[in-house]
């Protein structure tokens, strides 16, 4: 394989207009959490910008690193399709539909925030959101390794940020290296 070919494999040469249009479509269909399925159909099956293996790698990175998963996934796929510029275009196109809708909702909120019923109904919706958040927490917890240290780290972070209201930055700055270090010792020890 020539250098030119391998360079193309890293970054790709898809037209930016195609990248923009594809991710605008994916972003617009983001109702119901089927983003990953839509993304796979578009970038792997239809456009063939990435193969399955690269898609899964992008999926793992998107979940592990900070940032919204669908946005991170769009960035990774845009990068594979058309390098750095593709990444910028993909992320922008991906966010536009949801951004427009949430701005309309924010505008409507301004108009109706004087009515007590607005806050009452939104209180109900917030309760749904809290329930969903707790369910996500429970689901992720159930996949954690069953050991005391893992439990203690999760509990300590919850108590520090949630109960004692400590600032998140220093808590995470201490907890993340500590937790990864312990996991590293565990992974090395298991070998």
């Amino acid at each position: 394989m020539s250098d030119v070919e391998s360079a193309h494999q890293q970054t790709g040469t898809a037209p930016l207009a195609e990248v923009f249009w594809s991710f605008l479509k994916i972003g617009g269909s983001a109702f119901g959490g089927s983003t990953q399925a839509m993304m796979h159909r578009e970038v792997v099956e239809r456009r063939k910008w990435v193969d399955d293996e690269a898609f899964l790698a992008g999926f793992a990175i998107s979940q592990v690193l900070p940032g919204a998963n669908p946005v991170n996934l769009a960035l990774y796929m845009g990068m594979k399709a058309r390098g750095g510029l593709g990444a910028v275009v993909a992320v922008t196109a991906m966010i536009i539909p949801a951004f427009c809708i949430i701005m309309l909702m924010g505008y409507a909120y301004r108009q109706f925030s004087g009515l007590p019923i607005t806050h009452f109904i939104l209180g109900g919706v917030a309760a749904v959101g809290i329930g969903a958040t707790l369910a996500v927490g429970a689901k992720v917890s159930s996949k954690l390794p069953r050991d005391v240290l893992t439990f203690l780290i999760g509990l300590a972070v919850f108590l520090a940020v949630g109960v004692f209201r400590w600032s998140m930055l220093p808590v995470v700055a201490i907890a993340v290296p500590l937790s990864i270090g312990l996991a590293w010792l565990h992974v090395r020890g298991a070998k």
Partner: protein
């Protein structure tokens, strides 16, 4: 006005790098900084914004854009959006190449294993922050428990649940 734009940037840009698993992990600190530290919102407004961001399609991190809009209009929304997405995106961009070169490394396993409990702790802290900010009565507690069970055990569409809850609360408002 300019101070508020800078303030929005300073709230959301660092949180961008802490948003493990998305917006749910940083909800607690968003509430603390925008309500208690800077006084941009009341607890009522924060709870409403949380609700709207959950009812809207797209990533829950867009609560940043919503707060930005409320604090400083459309420019505020754009600044907050920029702040919440650019730092994490730069990190993802930088890490992507390294990640692909090292297909199965013990360090990757350690990073995945190590981040998970921290993210779990932050998610529960976020739920607690919203419970504190919202006015939670028996009706809301019932809704929280019901929805938690629904989302844990079934694959029901979140939008269907949000719509049903909004309709049920609207009905309850007129009955009570």
């Amino acid at each position: 006005m300019d101070n508020r734009l800078l303030g929005l940037f300073l709230v959301f840009a660092p949180l961008s790098l802490l948003s493990f698993g998305g917006g749910q992990a940083i909800v607690a600190d968003i509430q603390y900084q925008t309500v208690e530290l800077r006084g941009y919102l009341t607890n009522q407004e924060f709870s409403d914004m949380f609700a709207i961001s959950r009812a809207a399609p797209g990533p829950s991190t867009l609560i940043a854009a919503l707060i930005g809009y409320h604090v400083a209009g459309l420019v505020g929304a754009l600044v907050a959006c920029f702040a919440i997405y650019v730092p994490s995106s730069l990190l993802v961009y930088g890490v992507s190449n390294w990640w692909q070169r090292n297909k199965v490394s013990p360090l990757k396993t350690a990073i995945e294993r190590g981040l998970a409990p921290v993210a779990v702790g932050l998610i529960f802290a976020g739920a607690l922050a919203v419970i504190r900010a919202a006015k939670v009565g028996p009706l809301e507690i019932g809704t929280i428990l019901l929805c938690c069970a629904l989302f844990y055990f079934t694959k029901v569409s979140p939008y269907l649940v949000v719509l049903s809850a909004a309709a049920a609360f609207a009905a309850a408002y007129f009955i009570a």
